[in-house]
Amino acid sequence: MHHNDKIIGAPVGEDDLVMLSVETGCYFSTNVVGRRLWELLETPRTIPDLRQAVCAEFDIDEATCEADIVDFVRELMGNGLIQSVEA
């Protein structure tokens, strides 16, 4: 999966990120881990790719990490902020 083209992301300070869905005019925000995931999703990634990257950078166990990533990705997809691509 990767970013939807109709989404604008912008950093807020050191940690946070805001995203604007150009289609709906809605803003979303996320914290430092979400911001890192967003950066990673500039190029298409799989869930295991994301888990590996996040576990390497943040102090979190793999099972929790994957569960959180799945939740985050589901949320982004539900709001049309990212889309899946053919492998």
Binding site: A10, P11, V12, G13, V18, L20
Partner: protein, 303 residues
């Protein structure tokens, strides 16, 4: 002869006196020239942004029916052609308002529609829709020793340390007569904003002269059931949305700007400035309560 002003950090030379602006010493090379001359009815090859607005490259044409046409060029010049029967005095409010707002957008500033006041070298901005009571609350804070920074046009630009700063919009407060009376400002009251209009220019006791870092923005909201009085921080997505809404002429800002740049500009600002919703009664008799709540909030945030 030219009349000189300093508005939002820019030196301005104008062919005629601008009602409501505070005159300053002339600059050798003013940043902005305001002059009376012919202006076309439409911009050749331009895009119509609205019924009374055309834009072409760095030129922006604004038509105010029965008043004047304003050509705002590259953030440097405002050319005004008065319609029959209109006077330059009548055009002043438009120059200081919409035309200057567009000029600041052309220069890439983030411009909020709001009053700002400062104390101890830091400022707060008070936003809200027209008639929400921005100037009245600012005037009440000035009565409590705050300095006026802006009454109307709150242009933000990055300061030396990255924090946004605001510069005085170089004008007096505009207050309705009932607010002048409630705040006992009769002695500072000047001429009417427009003829036959119960709104007056009022000179504040103290005016900020320097660029002042902005600490917080308060968006005014009237407390009607089920809303209750209070000051609540706005979560990031709401603050972003509110910045779009509280921008000066928000529709024009979105049409004149490039969306990703505007989003980055707002987001960059929110890294330094906190945004709150201030819900309070509009009743002037209860204004002192709002002032106390705001002062307490400010002290708490500073602690």
């Amino acid at each position: 002869m030219a009349y000189s002003y300093r508005i939002s950090g820019l030196t301005v030379a104008c062919d005629f006196p601008l009602a409501g602006a505070v005159a300053t010493e002339p600059a050798v090379t003013p940043d902005v020239r305001v002059r009376l001359a012919d202006v076309p009815q439409t911009l050749e090859g331009g895009a119509a942004l609205g019924p009374n607005w055309d834009m072409f490259g760095e030129d922006f044409l604004l038509r105010a029916p029965r008043l004047a046409r304003f050509l705002i060029r590259g953030g440097r010049e405002i050319v005004i052609a008065l319609e029959d029967g209109a006077t330059a005095r009548d055009a002043s409010a438009y120059v200081l308002g919409t035309a200057f707002g567009i000029l600041l957008h052309q220069r890439g500033a983030l411009v909020l529609h709001g009053a700002a006041v400062a104390r101890g070298g830091e400022a707060i901005a008070i936003c809200g829709h027209s008639g929400a009571g921005k100037s009245t609350l600012a005037a009440a804070l000035c009565r409590r020793g705050w300095a006026l920074v802006t009454d109307d046009l709150c242009a933000l630009s990055p300061g030396d340390d990255g924090r946004p700063v605001i510069r005085p919009d170089g004008r007096q407060l505009k207050l309705w007569q009932e607010a002048v009376e409630a705040l006992d400002l009769g002695e500072q009251r000047g001429e009417a904003v427009l003829a036959r209009f119960e709104k007056y220019f009022v000179a504040p006791a103290e005016v900020a002269t320097e660029a002042t870092p902005l600490r917080a923005i308060y968006v005014l909201r009237e407390s009607r059931p089920p809303l209750t009085d209070g000051i609540e921080p706005l979560p990031l997505p709401d603050a972003m949305h509110m910045l779009d809404r509280e921008a000066y002429r928000p529709g024009l800002r979105l049409k004149m700007g490039v969306r990703p740049e505007l989003v980055a500009q707002s987001a960059g600002m929110l890294a330094h400035v906190r945004m709150f919703e201030l819900t309070r009664p509009r009743d002037l008799a209860r204004l002192p309560e709002t002032v106390e709540a705001l002062l307490a909030h400010w002290e708490l945030a500073a602690a």
